[in-house]
Symmetry: C2
Subunit: 142 residues, 2 copies
DNA sequence: ATAGTCCTTCCACCTACTGGAAGGTCAAGG
DNA sequence: CCTTGACCTTCCAGTAGGTGGAAGGACTAT
């Protein structure tokens, strides 16, 4: 099967499929003319990867999940552990973003938003006390 | 002021400060010996940037905010517009992650997590409806 | 003179792709 | 036979926002 076909059936862009081959997630064979020739199992793997990625699993997690996918003797505990730690990370991120959202919302609400320069948002950003502590409790990153 | 000093007072790593110079967010002068020489205004800018970044604003937003910071005739409306659109993006992200979290949590809860291979998480990831494929016919699929 | 710390530049790496250029292959139509 | 267009190939560069490290110059103290 050619890459265009596999792309269509798996829902992954051809570029992404080549990238996945590059990092060793799939190993399609080659024809005489140099074209990749995907087996049905490769298609399955790629669809599996697409779903796993859409659930937010990282590439290395996907690699592990793929090996578990191919292991009919796997323990569901191994799969669950990966999903659980991923879930914990997602929930952690949600908390950080919620704190961020609350801070931003507060600033936005307090800013009158007219043509005068006076602005609580700018006041928050403006450094008042350098080298010292206080003012902002916690910082999060996106 | 040397970069180490500025780093300490602004809370930004020296590497980051050099990077910010690279992309034109600050323009410290140079001494005879090639060392960067930061003015107090540069320190203020860097602290401003650090706070804006910690609120999740992107670099280009920071660049705009910085120009508004230096413009004493700015309209608070301009600042508010940037913060509002950023807030909207954050809230959008939260919603996406919450949907993801719900899906993952459901899968994790339904997975018994023992030493048997049977696993609802894997079932979710496993492609079932691809053209020309059957669902694991006893030992053919990986 | 030498040790230790600070500073410099440059290059590579991180995630997970994505875009584009330059060029080979293949099937159909005239 | 030739051309057109779709498809395929590789390789290079770029994304966001830095981080790590190497190689080497500069400063300070003893």
């Amino acid at each position: 099967m050619n890459i265009g076909n596999v792309s269509e059936q798996s829902g992954l862009p051809a570029k992404t499929i080549r990238y996945y081959e590059d990092i060793g997630l799939v190993q399609p064979s080659r024809r005489e003319n140099g074209y990749r020739d995907f087996a049905v199992q490769d298609l399955h793997k790629l669809a599996f990867l697409g779903r796993a990625r859409s659930l937010g699993f990282g590439i290395e997690e996907c690699r592990t999940l793929l090996s578990l996918y191919e292991d009919r003797e796997r323990s569901s505990a191994d799969v669950k552990a990966i999903a659980q730690s991923h879930l914990a990370r997602v929930d952690q991120k949600i908390e950080e973003l919620q704190a961020l959202s609350a801070t931003l919302r507060d600033l936005v609400v307090r800013c009158h938003g007219d043509d005068r320069p006076d602005c609580p948002i700018m006041d928050d950003l403006t450094p008042s006390d350098l080298a010292g502590t206080r003012k902002h409790p916690a910082g999060t990153t996106l």
